[in-house]
Symmetry: D2
């Protein structure tokens, strides 16, 4: 398990930690992360909350994009659409993310979240890429 989202983040990812998200792969244009369904992540129907699957996609997209950026670049989520295919009640969820396209100022990524019964959700998102403002010496 690779606990760092990226070299940029020094492993600081409080909300990822809160939901138990762990990364198994972070490379240029690709990431894999996963978590185990537990009661604190359920919605009122005793199904994994859609916000957890969304958070996997959003975090996984950032993790797949960072290794493609220059040292003085950061990225931020512009928008993501997620569609749900199957409810997940228990077990492990794996999120696989691929970079679809990277321009100068924008990147497009897609994530698939798979549970014990197959593809549970799919997301397509846009990120903005921008230069870090340097602090004065």
């Amino acid at each position: 398990m690779v606990p760092d989202v990226s070299l940029h983040s020094d492993g600081f990812n409080p909300f990822g930690d809160l939901i138990g998200l762990e990364f198994t792969c972070c490379q240029k244009g690709y990431s894999q992360c996963g978590l185990v369904v537990k009661e604190t992540l359920l919605n009122p129907h005793k199904v994994l909350h859609g916000g957890v699957l969304y958070t996997m996609a959003d975090t996984g997209m950032g993790a797949a994009l960072y290794p493609s950026l220059a040292e003085d670049e950061l990225c931020a989520t512009v928008e993501i659409k997620i569609v749900y295919l199957l409810p997940v009640r228990s077990g492990t969820i794996a999120c696989e993310t691929k970079l679809v396209h990277k321009g100068k100022a924008l990147a497009v990524l897609e994530s698939e979240m798979k549970g014990p019964d197959g593809l549970a959700a799919k997301a397509l998102g846009t990120y903005s890429i921008f230069k870090v403002r340097k602090a004065a010496p």
Copy 2:
């Protein structure tokens, strides 16, 4: 504060509780919920994680739709798109959700999440409506 997402849920909403989500209004086609930004909800950039804003929208949409359903109906998120407008670092976030359209099998809702500096995110989502399968006596 009204801790129940809806009469259907008897207040059971573990993931909502985990992020500190509280409802202040749930009526036919409308809901309001809010939370206070705390360190466990941040992303690697020390900004409120997009997954938290998303979870507010997703939960708020369910809460706005439930009071419009018949007693033997349930709903589930089909898909949601969320777009981020401003980063949020601290303070209180309020999520206001309105029903845009309700058909027999599908409903469309929109949510706006406002932070201390204004509109932070906006979401447009689709829900499916279906009959509850009755348990045998």
Copy 3:
């Protein structure tokens, strides 16, 4: 009727012309356009093709954003989500577009397309804003 999409475009809008799109209002952050349903715009079910309603939204968003830009700025669609609420078989469709948020490099807009029976579709889109590259003298 104002046939120009914007002062930037000098009224050149071939695909808008092909579907019979006409603008009735273009101002900073707001536009209105409309068209009359005719047989060439129908889909295999004899309903107005979703691509026509989408084109109204996409064109209307550009028209609402242009008057907000500086003289040396252009914009391009990044992504749009459209959701359909009611089928349209005949009559006039009006599309009303509002600017939701404008940053330095990105803007978010929403459009509502109304037909004879009410709200037929709703769209939420993101545009990129960039400086025009000047031609050499």
Copy 4:
């Protein structure tokens, strides 16, 4: 070239015809269609209008879903998100669509539109599936 969108439609597809859309493959869960960029399809920037690429996706999704439906079933677009990656100024555009998931009442599909310079746009959409109401004898 297979001009019929599906056996359901008997080749009646006026808006597809208006933009010059032709199908080269329609099978269970998969379709391919294409068109040649011509001046009537351009936007004010002399680039292929986003609504044309969208129409390819929307029509291609219907064509990929129909062969998966029962004889007494129809489908309709619920919502589609499209993201643009590269502008297209001329040449041929090919749209390839795959069924991601099919449930009883909903299906999810994705389309990729490729131009002379590579992937120009990508779409992720949801369709509803419903029974045809039989006419009285």
